[in-house]
């Protein structure tokens, strides 16, 4: 077999071409260890060094009194998408990488089925988010950037006014969404093409769809996206189980969060919630 130079495994094709064939598998451990290191550093920082969050502005008691006890956050459809995506993503990661670390089982069929589920759910999500939800709620805006700069300056001990409370999704959420979108779409697009290399129910095998170099780069990109997703999913699960984030996690199960949590962390001007008497008839648009 070919040489393993750096993060890519290379081979010589029958036509004498030096082609990449997949990533070097030690990257699985790099991603896993990086994820664990992040947990430890972040947990230690929060436990011993982090200062209490301080936000500018306040919510009027009148507005607070008009809010429902439970603030609707995720619609049933959005929650179902999230958990279907999570199940398929975990299945994909386990079926992809467990065989590489010594747990042998018939993984390919489960892998492409899970990949198909993920692809369909992502297509649904794009359509749903574009036409039924507030599409821009998950993208960083000007206020996010300004507040991020204030937070960085305060973290560095420099004078800066406190940032505003968050919109529905804090900047960290938005950046995470961007990262998972980039890696996820890379894995999905390459994965769909790679399904031409195996037998599925969708289309006939066609290993000659691309040249060896293109196929090799596709396998490498799929692998890099895969190991990237290991780290990203680990970080996601870590934050989901952190005590101060549990209200957010529960809202992905039950659909809503406590009013007190909302008032403490979110800015009603950036994430407006309809008053209690209207909440029950609110449109899907307010519940991204």
């Amino acid at each position: 077999m070919g040489a393993n130079s750096g993060i890519v495994q290379w081979a010589t094709s029958p036509w004498g071409q030096h082609v990449p064939i997949h990533i070097a598998w030690f990257l699985i451990w790099v991603a896993a260890i990086a994820g664990l290191a992040f947990f430890m550093v972040h947990a230690v920082y929060l436990r011993y060094f982090a200062k209490r969050e301080e936000f500018a502005g306040s919510v009027s008691p009148e507005l607070a009194a008009r809010l429902p006890a439970r603030i609707p956050r995720h619609s049933l459809v959005a929650r179902m998408f999230h958990w279907i995506m999570a199940a398929s993503m975990l299945t994909l990661l386990f079926t992809a990488f467990l065989p590489k670390v010594g747990f042998q089982f018939d993984w390919v069929t489960y892998h492409w089925i899970a990949g198909t589920v993920l692809t369909v759910s992502i297509v649904f999500h794009v359509i749903h988010a574009s036409f039924w939800l507030d599409f821009w709620a998950i993208w960083p805006d000007r206020t996010d950037i300004e507040d991020a700069w204030k937070r960085v300056r305060r973290f560095m001990g420099q004078p800066a006014p406190p940032p505003r409370k968050f919109a529905k999704y804090p900047l960290e959420n938005k950046l995470y969404h961007g990262a998972i979108m980039a890696t996820g779409l890379s894995a999905i697009v390459t994965g769909v093409f790679m399904m031409f290399r195996v037998r599925t129910i969708f289309f006939p095998r066609n290993p000659y769809l691309f040249r060896d170099m293109t196929w090799g780069l596709m396998y490498v990109l799929h692998g890099l996206a895969g190991v990237g997703l290991i780290g990203l999913v680990m970080v996601h699960v870590y934050f989901a189980v952190r005590p101060e984030k549990l209200d957010i996690t529960k809202s992905m199960i039950f659909g809503s969060m406590k009013r007190e949590f909302y008032l403490e962390h979110y800015d009603p001007e950036r994430w407006p919630v309809e008053p209690a008497n209207l909440a029950s008839t609110s449109s899907d648009k307010s519940r991204v």
Binding site: M1, T12, F105, R199, R205, W215
Partner: protein, 341 residues
């Protein structure tokens, strides 16, 4: 790809004299070590410089791995027993002639004198794309060159193909499965005994190996229980050259017939998939039925259910169907019927 032949890459040769030492050396060197039995598969790889192990553990000096021994319940064959010794052993010939038939059809007399039973069941795939050193799935790459529209795949799999379509080339393997043999493996964690059919794995489990041996593992013996001793056996191998060739397909069966009915049966084929296949559905379907051509025909049809031919190996489907039919109904009863215009 240019292949430099007959000049092996240098390696360290280790020659243990006990199974314990051999296993320890394999464990110590892990993936860098190559266990060599008769050397017939080994030297192909080494002389073609496709495999370049740092260490070769030569098992030929391990006396305890050689010979056929009677046990309380059958026989135990050391993994380093040559195929010729297996074929000629009086107990094997008398009680387990299915194995002697299968082993006798492997390769040539010279090769059987040197080749071992352990090596025969553990040998690697013969797919020429793989053996030529091309970066296919089995070699750790990302393509099967045989399973392409122009791939030469006449000898390849019709069942359970999963990315790789290479087949297992062993002749003794289906016989051992039919005899319900147990494979004894010395591992870093101790001795492990597995059923013959579980010794072999397909590409869906591990695309780079045909068997369950991992670095550090050593196949030490094969035990054949007396359960099928003296049963009605059938072995047939179909190959391109009858003097010396790998099987296109082979079939091995052990059958106990009582009052004109099949009381119990075990049947396995090789050359149809990446692992020798025990045909459990066939075994269940023929139980209680007469060993007739009709039963054989039904079994043959059942055996090839789910078969998917490649570009050039569709012939294997009727071939396998007929081999199974002959294993049950016998050759005489399975003669071709005249074509009626």
């Amino acid at each position: 790809m240019a292949v430099i032949r007959d000049v092996m890459a240098p390696f360290e040769l280790l020659q243990p004299t006990t199974a314990a030492d051999a296993q320890k050396l394999l464990e110590q060197h892990g993936a860098d070590a190559w266990a060599m039995a008769g050397g017939l598969d080994t030297f192909d790889w080494l002389k073609d410089r496709i495999r370049k192990p740092k260490v070769v553990v030569d098992l030929s000096g391990v006396g305890e791995l050689k010979g056929v021994r009677e046990t309380g319940d059958g026989i135990e064959i050391g993994a380093m027993t040559t195929l010729t010794q297996v074929v000629n052993h009086p107990i094997v010939r008398e009680k387990y002639s299915l194995l002697s038939q299968g082993a006798e059809l492997a390769a040539s007399p010279q090769i059987r004198n040197q080749g071992t039973i352990g090596g025969n069941v553990s040998q690697d795939a013969r797919c020429w794309y793989y053996r030529a050193g091309w970066p296919c799935y089995r070699a750790g790459g990302n393509i099967c060159y045989a399973d392409t529209p122009t791939g030469r795949n006449r000898e390849h799999a019709i069942l359970h193909a999963e990315r790789c379509v290479a087949v297992n080339p062993s002749d003794s393997a289906p016989a051992l499965i039919a005899l319900d043999a147990k494979f004894v493996i010395r591992t870093p964690k101790g001795e492990r005994v597995v059923d013959a059919e579980d010794y072999f794995i397909g590409p869906e489990i591990d695309i780079t190996r045909l068997h369950i041996l991992k670095p550090g593992d050593l196949l030490t013996a094969i035990r054949i229980p007396a359960t099928w001793a003296g049963a009605q056996f059938y072995f047939e191998k179909v190959r391109d050259r009858n003097v010396w060739d790998f099987a296109l397909l082979n079939v091995a069966s052990a059958m106990v017939v009582s009052s004109g009915r099949i009381e119990r049966m075990r049947i396995a084929v090789n050359g149809a998939a990446a692992r020798p296949l025990r045909l459990k559905a066939v075994e269940d379907a023929v139980r209680g039925k007469p060993p007739s051509a009709e039963t054989g025909a039904m079994a043959g049809r059942l055996a090839v259910e789910g078969a998917v031919p490649l570009q050039f190996n569709a012939y294997k489907i009727p071939l396998m169907r007929n081999l199974v039919k002959r294993a049950i109904g016998g050759v005489e009863e399975a003669k071709w019927a005249p074509i009626v215009a």
